[in-house]
């Protein structure tokens, strides 16, 4: 299972997903959130997913 921490106004909701579900989530939220590996602190892409991984979803800031 993959643990995903979503940063939002309610104070970081946490969900546990299978790798397939996590992949679908990343694909869906790619333009709105940075998906960061909690261990390496690097932005991940779906191919880098692994079991027992902890991910953090941070809303993307924009440059103006």
């Amino acid at each position: 299972m993959i643990r995903v921490l979503v940063a939002n106004r309610k104070g970081h909701s946490e969900v546990e997903l299978s790798p397939e579900e996590a992949e679908r989530l990343i694909e869906a939220e790619l333009g709105r959130y940075y998906i960061v590996d909690a261990e390496t602190r690097k932005v991940v892409s779906p191919v880098e997913l692994r079991e027992n991984q902890v991910l953090m979803m941070l809303p993307i800031v924009g440059g103006g």
Binding site: A7, N8, Y34, V43, L58, P59, V61, G62, G63, G64
Partner: protein
């Protein structure tokens, strides 16, 4: 109805002149006016219409009064609810939730930027790091991103994500990730030269 009151609703034409010599007195001519039959009918019709118009107006006023009274009752009820303990408890719970969200976002920021940068942020009010383009950047406590250009820290224009109520530490973590790992972000973020600050020792 007195004659004066009647006259308020009369035209001059409604009155007919009666002129006669009373039989008993014999020598005097008596002249007086009285309402014609047509005038009486018209008067009755006009009065009936006026009464109905006034009744309709009064009924409208009653409806309006009822509406306003209902509105007053609703507002008083709402005022009473707002003063209740459960509302106060809910407000308190919401405040605690916000505090908890802030604490969690601080923990997340610590994880994202690392303990060294977090320590720097706490002591100096900003943390410095190298961006994706190898330039030196810093994020201040108010969330402002600045880039070092020569002797100056130049502010960069950063747009906050459209997430209502997002805690500031979450925003700072996102700025850090964007600057270090998202090359497209640095290309889009313009310099704000008017807000540059001189580097101090």
């Amino acid at each position: 109805m007195s004659e004066d009151l009647l006259k308020r609703y009369m035209d001059v034409d409604d009155w007919e002149e009666i002129s006669e010599i009373p039989e008993k007195e014999g020598i005097f001519r008596v002249k007086y006016h009285r309402l014609s039959l047509r005038a009486l009918r018209n008067l009755r019709s006009r009065l009936t219409n006026k009464v109905w118009a006034l009744r309709r107006e009064v009924a409208g006023l009653h409806d309006r009064i009822e509406l306003l009274e209902r509105e007053i009752r609703e507002k008083e009820e709402m005022l009473k609810l707002l003063g209740e303990d459960r509302i106060r408890a809910w407000t308190e719970m919401e405040r605690k939730r916000q505090d908890e969200a802030y604490k969690r976002s601080v923990e997340l920021l610590k994880k994202v930027i690392g303990p060294e940068h977090f320590q720097e942020l706490q002591t100096k009010g900003f943390f410095t790091f190298e961006g994706f383009d190898k330039k030196t950047y810093r994020v201040k406590l108010d969330g402002q991103l600045q880039v070092l250009e020569g002797e100056y820290w130049v502010a960069k224009c950063v747009i906050r994500p459209d997430v209502p109520g997002l805690p500031l530490p979450d925003f700072m973590a996102s700025v850090f990730i964007a600057t270090t790992q998202d090359p497209s972000f640095l290309g889009r973020s313009r310099r704000l030269t008017s807000r540059r600050e001189e580097v101090t020792a």
